[in-house]
Every structure is written in C-alpha cells, then in structure tokens.
C-alpha cells in the first residue's frame, strides 16, 4: 500500500532484483498488488487474501497509526511490514508493539533486507497464527475453547451485522460429570465430554462455531438467513439430540441484541428448561 510512484518503482526494482538473483534459496516469484490509498487498500484486502502487506504510513486518507490499525483489523492474520522514513522510526517501532511484524526504512530499501524481512515476517506470522489457533482450542474435545469462542464469535457477529443474518446461540450443559469422576474415573469423565462434543459436531454444520466454554458447558453459534431457518435449525438439532441421555440445551436468537446478551439469554433458557419449559412434555 504505497501512493508515491517513485517508491513503487523502487520496490518493483528490488523485487525484480530478488527474483533475478534468486536471492535466497527457495524464493518463489510473487504476485504484487499495489493500492495507492488507504480506502483502496482496505477494499482489496476485503476481496483477496495476501501473504504479506507492505504498508506506507503516509498513505492518503489515513494518518499513520490509524492507517495501521484499520489495515490490521481488516486482515488480522496477514503480516504487516511498515514502510517508514528514518524520522518516523520510533513510530514504526511502536507499531511493531501493536502487532506489525517488522518495519523497513525507505531510504535503506534494498533487495537483501527486503527479502530477509519479507521471509522472516511471513514465517513468524505463520508460527504465531498456529500458536494462536492452538490456544483457541480445547485440548480434550478439539472444539474451540472459551477464548476461541470470544475471538471467533465476534467475527461471526460482525459478519451477521454486515449481511443482516440471524444469530442463533445454543448453550448446552452436561451435568453429572463430577459423579462420573467420583464413581468411575477421570478417563470416563473425559470420554463423556468427548462423546458430547462429537454429538454437537454431528448435529451442527461445519460453518457453525462450537466451543467448550466451561467444565461441563458447551456453546454454539450459527448464522441463518431467516427466522424460519432458525426455527428449523433448533428443531433439527433438538431432534438429533433427543433420546440421548447426555445434554441439556438452551437457545436464544436475534438479529439485534449484542452477542453477550444472546449468550446470557441462552444460558438462562438452559436453566429455565430445567424448571419451566415442560408444557410440551419434554424435559431433556
């Protein structure tokens, strides 16, 4: 993302030199896309995925920190290398602290440092994404954990807002785990949790977000186009899970309230199911 034609020329020459010299072993020719303003850059990022972003801090339409934060929010898993002048080096350093992978001083731009910074940034970022995804998973069930739900739930929510989708939240509990540990073993308790996770995985679709959010608690988030589809989904999942002596369910859905409110409502529904939702004769 660079607006100065001279700078773009310079970068292009550096890339060509890297490719001609095969500067480092394993270097692959890369496709480069230039955006000359912040808005254009954000549009391109919304459309395509990139391996790395080179970001000039003095882009039209943005002011340094602001530009970086917007680009980072648009492509949180793509490494960003900041292009800056030597006077702004302290700012570039502070952006590294905010999540940029590295920075390059424009006046020092050459093929060798550019190649090294690009490759190191991509590798460091790949590692960091893997580590982050591991910490978002529940080791036992391999569903997302509470952190994963918070992290990815927000994205689901934003997507729903953008596309005017209904958000369906399910809370499920698995009471009796302590009894299993006490009466049988810790291993049997774990088997019960894995079985419950598999049941949920089978009942929901791959695009839904399912997480183990507590010792005996699961949460799932699904996005649906109409309220009729929401009802159908609730019916479908309840039918899939009925007849199994495992999970108690609570539901909430909306296209308006906040995600936290929906989670709370679904939790309340779970409790109330045990107490009042009995007219249909179903107390699972």
């Amino acid at each position: 993302m660079e607006d100065e034609p001279d700078e773009i020329q310079l970068l292009e020459e550096a890339f060509l030199e890297i490719e001609e010299k095969r500067f480092s072993r394993g270097w692959q020719a890369c496709e480069r896309v230039y955006a000359v303003s912040l808005e254009e850059g954000l549009t391109v990022l919304a459309r395509d995925r990139f391996d790395v972003i080179l970001l000039d801090l003095s882009l039209p339409g943005g002011v340094s920190l602001h530009s970086f934060l917007r680009v980072h929010a648009q492509a949180p898993e793509t490494p960003i290398i900041v292009l800056t002048s030597s006077e702004d080096e302290p700012l570039a350093l502070s952006l590294v602290r905010q999540g940029a992978q590295d920075y390059l001083i424009k006046s020092d731009l050459d093929c060798a440092p550019l190649a090294r910074v690009l490759r190191c940034s991509i590798e460091r970022n790949r590692l960091s994404v893997v580590q982050q995804s591991i910490s978002l998973m529940d080791d036992l069930t391999t569903l997302y954990n509470h952190r994963g739900l918070t992290h990815l739930g927000e994205r689901h929510w934003n997507l729903a807002q953008q596309h005017k989708l209904h958000v369906l939240v399910m809370q499920a509990s698995l009471p009796g785990l302590d009894k299993i540990r006490e009466a049988l073993s810790m291993q049997e308790r774990d088997i019960a949790l894995i079985e419950a996770a598999d049941l949920l995985r089978g009942a929901f679709s791959e695009t839904d977000l399912i997480a183990r959010t507590g010792t005996e608690q699961f949460t799932a988030i699904a996005l649906l186009e109409t309220s009729a589809a929401v009802q159908e989904k609730i019916h479908h999942i309840s039918r899939q899970l009925s007849g199994l002596a495992t999970l108690q369910l609570g539901w909430a859905y909306s296209e308006e309230t906040r995600l936290e409110d929906l989670l709370t409502l679904a939790g309340r529904s779970l409790c109330e199911n045990r107490l009042v939702e009995n007219r249909a004769g179903c107390y699972l």
Binding site: L174, P175, G176, L177, K179, I180, E182, A183, L184, E188, I191, A192, G243, L244, A245, T246, Q248, R274, L275, V276, N278, R279, G281, C282, Y283, L284
Partner: protein
Amino acid sequence: MKIALDATYSAGPNLSGVGVYSREILHGLAHMHPDPGVRWLWCYRPHRFLKSLRIGLPRRCGRRLLLDRLVPDAALFHGLNQRLPSTPLRRSVTTFHDLFVLTGEYSSPEFRQRFAEQARQAAARSDLIIAVSAFTAGQVEQLLGVERSRIRVVPHGVHPSSPGIPEKIILSVGALQKRKNTIRLVEAFERCPPGWKLVLAGSHGYEAGEALSRIEASPRRADIELTGYVDDVTLQGWYGRAGIFAFPSLDEGFGMPVLEAMSRGIPVLTSNRGALPEVSLDAALLVDPESTGAIADGLRRLITDESLQQTLRRKGLLRAAQFSWENAVKRTWQVYLELV
C-alpha cells in the same frame, strides 16, 4: 395464603413410590419456600391421620384431617395421588402417576373400579394436572379426555448418592407382582451364568403368590434372595452392592428405581414400555418385557460385555444428574403460581 396438600401417602411405614413423591414434594415445598405469607396444610385421611402424628412438621406447616366432605379452607388444594376430595375447592391441582387402573389388570377389579372413578373425578375437576412423565400426560389426555393445556409434566427427582462397590448381584426393586414382571425376570435369571445372585427387594404385591411359587420352584432358588420390604437404609445398601439393576416392568408411569440405580452408577436393564424409555433414554439397555429370551439376552450381555457396562454406567450417571427433587419442587411451585 394457605395451600393444602393431601399428605396421606407420605405417612406410615413402607412408603411406595407415591409415598416417596409425596414426602419429597411436601418437605421440599416447606423448606424451599420459607415465605412467611404461605402456610402449608398437610392433610391426612382418617386411616393415616394417627400415624401422621409421628411426623414432625416443618415451620409454617399445619396438620389437618382430610375427609371428602371436610377440607380445610385454602387458596389451593393439591391432590398428590390422582384424587381430590368431593367437596368443592377454590383452586385445585392433582398429580397423576399412572393409569394402570384403566389399562391393565394389575390389581383387583374392585380396586381398579374405585380408583378409576376417583381418577376420572379428579381429572375433570382439577384446574391443572401434574403428570410425572410425558407418557402419563399422554394417557391422561387420551384416556381421561383432559385437554393438553391443563397438563404440566413434572418429572420425579433423585437424591445424589455415592457409588458402591459392585458385586455379582442383579438387583430388582419393586413389589412382587405381575406388573413388575417378576416371573419372567426369574426365568431370565435362570439362563444367566452361575456365580451371580438375584436380589428381589420389595413387598408382596397383587397376586404375588404366583411369583413366589415360581421362585420356590426355580433351579436357581439358592441364588435368589427375597428381602421383602426394606427400609431406605437397607435398600441403599443393596444399591451399593449391585452389579446390574434389572427392572423389566410391563408398565410404569415413571420408574423411580431406574433413576436411583443410575445415580449409583449401576448399569440398568429395563423394558421398552410405559415411561421407561422416556426416563432412561439411551442410558439403559431396553428390552421387550414380554420376552423372557430378550430379558435373558440383555442380562447376559450386561454380565459379559464390560464395555457396555461402562458405557451404561457413564450415561446413567449423566442421565440421573438431569433429575432432582429440587427441580420437581420448583416446577410444582410454578404450577401453583399459575393459579394463585
């Protein structure tokens, strides 16, 4: 506000399932709703009134004699065993446990006739009906013509208890009678490998003589123990020793012993009739109770298949954890709140 309950079946020794239910609801309501604005009237019919004097009453509870034509004045009357006094009541709730008196010949014709009439009267006059299972709710709707909108399902509970140390014992709890399918259970047990013992814990029910004769004639008689009625402590002792719980009833409105066994981590074999599939779900091995072969096969599978045993133990503990008397009491209170 006064709320009166028919506490008759909670008094006296040898409490049946209805008796346990009555005791849990009476004490649970009194303890969980210490609202000084509510006064509970525990009403006993004459044949149990004297026995009830041995029962200590919680605070804000009063004891009353209950006659068909003499009912304490109360905002609400709750008949805990599918009958109501004939006197007009301000508001009323009746609990239905089962309708065997209409569907089976598990008691004398006179008994069936009398209790069927009481059930019809109670169903017609109650403002709301509590059914202990969806199965019973369906029967109340179909056999007594009660609209679904007047029925609420409030399942029984179970108290948390500790796991035992299993021995080679097949335990069955319930009165010796046709409905409990005692004879087929004994015949199925005879096909089980030696080394196992069958313990039948329960009083002698309707036409128990036939079952007793069959037991006496059994080639495995030495391996069958008849305990008669046992008090709660003794019963818990048997649950603690059981390796398998067998409950192949021909019909049940709920099936409380199944939950008791599950809560103790005992693998359960039960029948696919009445409310038992609804209570057990997939946490028990369900068999056709009219097939001795199916019961025997089920017992042998449970004896030999350790993986199945472990799965049923695990699922049973989870299933039992979904029921509690606390929930039953809260749901009952919510039914009252719809009327008062």
